[in-house]
């Protein structure tokens, strides 16, 4: 079965990935809605910035995060005064994962929001619903499959995050050493292939589990008994 060390790595990876998705989901929903439903000056720029982590080398993202949120960084210094530290902490790993997975999350949610007929939302308005209520009762529930897909993609991407994480928060066992970092570390040690393999199998199992949960969430929502 799992060793205490392996269990620790898996739990840390789950913690980082869950925190990453939980933190980026509200912002992701908002940005997806902005891009899907609003026209404003600078929309193209926002779209480009959101997609940046997808096209930049992860190491660059990690380095930029280090510059901004490191101990000496502009934002890092301010946040440290209110007790939030990212540098060399698991929270930093979660931040790196959130930034790297954000484009995938936004993309999935945006596509499903764009697929919602805007005339349904207009009908909601004429029935007396303010814009936020239309969003909460119509847009969001109708975009549910995209929400689940976006969260799953974000979760999977977070579980697999390597380059930005190791650049930003290094590989500290018990603090920032997630599955990919641990696997990489074992491959660098002669004779530790078994450990690397065992962790890789765990990785596959976790990803399959996430896939199954998301599938179940989408199906459950489509069942005819559920009313919002």
């Amino acid at each position: 079965m799992l060793t205490a060390e392996e269990l620790g790595i898996v739990l840390l990876s789950l913690k980082v990935a869950v925190a990453s998705v939980a933190a980026s989901l509200p912002a992701g929903i908002f940005v997806a809605w902005l891009l899907a439903r609003r026209d404003f000056p600078g929309k193209t720029l926002v779209d480009a910035v959101v997609h940046l982590p997808l096209v930049l080398p992860p190491v660059v993202v990690g380095y930029l995060l280090l510059l901004a949120f490191g101990r000496g960084g502009a934002l890092g210094g301010i946040l440290e005064r209110v007790g939030i530290v990212f540098a060399f902490r698991w929270t930093g790993a979660a931040l790196a994962a959130a930034v790297m997975s954000f484009p995938l999350l936004v993309r999935a949610i945006r596509l499903s929001m764009e697929a919602v007929d805007p005339r349904l939302e207009a009908a909601g308005r004429t029935l007396g619903a303010r814009p936020w209520r239309v969003f909460a009762t119509l847009t969001l529930p109708l975009a549910w499959p995209g929400l689940v897909t976006g969260a799953l993609l974000g979760f999977a991407r977070s579980l697999g995050e390597f380059g930005a994480t190791i650049t930003f928060v290094a590989n500290i066992p018990g603090e920032t050493e997630t599955l990919p970092l641990a696997i990489y570390a074992y491959t660098q040690v002669p004779g530790a292939d078994v450990h690397a393999l065992r962790l890789s199998v765990l990785s596959v199992l976790l990803s399959l589990g996430a896939l199954a949960v998301s599938e179940w969430l989408v199906r459950r929502r489509k069942a005819p008994s559920l009313d919002a």
Partner: protein, 362 residues
């Protein structure tokens, strides 16, 4: 009372609409793409006019000059669209409750149980929109809109997606609502049969402009509008009452100003007001009362106008008593019978030419 005087610009499309009505149902009539739906969207607050004003029942919804532009949710304007636009993730019951829940109790004037029974929705409540037929969807959409207690009801081609039997069914329901709830309605359509059957007042829309407004019969009989209305089967609209039924032959006699019309059985009680539409091409003319002919309706008429100087066909404007009729005959017939304004003659109409579906409650 509805007053609309707006200019809407949408890309290259420009709409200028000006009309007012205090009729129970005003029809916006015109071809697809003429701008009818844009008028509806402007009244509902879904598009913002460039200039002008919109007043419903004394309440200003939009006035560019006074910087008034109520949000759609504040307007209390009910809309029913061609594709019912039911919320697919909600049951019929939840769809119906959507607007009702958002209506302050003091503003509610429509009773839920009454609407459910009026529209026959009781058996559909637990169903999902995806499992409903087109007609059922449209009934739910009507109910959902009514339960938000709107001050005016906008119906944008509500029958366009339905087959003929469902059309007739929904028409009956709309007539019921008109009579039961006394809610002013704007009925948008490109189908003349629906307009003549339901509406009292007609606004003709063409190429982004309101060309004419007036009583339905008056606008449809105006010769200068024939290019717009004529395309849609010219004809006369007759306001009548059910005089009596002839059970033996399954006929109904309608009395109107100027005479009586025999039609195939109409499902209405004696004394009830109805409206019948008679297409010009179904009216024949004779200088003498024909004997031994199958025509059920032989009406004494006076020629008012003989339209069209060219072509094989002429439209003859007639008056039977006070009621305008029109007949479409060949130029050859018109000249052979020497039909000119003032000629006294007989208008002949077969009972079965008056389509049962064109007779509706007035």
């Amino acid at each position: 009372m509805l007053e609309v005087d707006i200019v809407v610009r949408r890309g290259a499309f420009r709409l200028e609409a000006a009309f007012s009505s205090d009729a129970p149902i005003v029809a916006l009539f015109g071809r697809s793409g003429s701008g009818k739906s844009t008028v509806v969207e402007a009244i509902a607050g879904l598009v913002r006019p460039e200039s002008g004003r919109i007043v419903v029942q004394g309440r200003t919804l939009f006035d560019a000059a006074r910087a008034i532009d109520l949000t759609p949710e504040a307007r209390r304007v009910g809309c029913v669209f061609q594709d019912a636009l039911l919320f697919p993730h909600l049951s019929v019951r939840a769809n119906l409750a959507y607007g009702e829940r958002l209506t302050p109790a003091a503003e509610r004037f429509v009773d839920r149980d009454r609407v459910i029974s009026l529209l026959g929705l009781a058996s559909l409540l637990e169903r999902r929109p995806a499992t409903l037929s087109g007609g059922e969807k449209q009934r739910v959409a009507l109910g959902r809109t009514l339960l938000a207690s709107p001050r005016i009801l906008l119906l944008d081609e509500p029958l366009a997606a339905l087959d003929a039997p469902r059309k007739a069914e929904i028409l009956r329901y709309i007539e019921l609502l008109r009579d039961e709830l006394r809610l002013p309605m704007v009925y948008v359509s490109h189908a003349i049969e629906e307009v003549t059957r339901l509406a009292d007042r007609l606004v003709l829309v063409s190429d982004g402009r309101t060309l004419a407004e007036g009583d339905v019969a008056e606008v449809l009989s105006r010769a200068d509008l024939k290019p717009y209305t004529g395309r849609f089967e010219a004809g006369a609209v007759i306001d009548a009452r059910v005089a009596r039924h002839d059970e033996r032959y399954g006929l109904t006699v309608l009395a109107f100003e100027g005479g009586e019309l025999v039609v195939a059985n109409v499902d209405a009680l004696p004394g009830e007001p109805v409206r019948a539409r008679i297409r010009s091409r179904d009216v024949a003319l004779a200088l003498e009362r024909p004997r031994a002919a199958s025509f059920q309706n032989v009406l004494e008429a006076t020629v008012e106008s003989v339209g069209g100087e060219f072509g094989a066909i002429v439209d003859v404007g007639l008056r039977v008593g006070a009621t305008p009729f029109s007949a479409r005959i060949t130029r050859e017939s018109a000249e052979r019978l020497a039909i000119v304004p003032g000629t006294k003659l007989f208008a002949l109409v077969k009972a079965i030419a008056i389509d049962r579906r064109s007779v509706g409650y007035a």
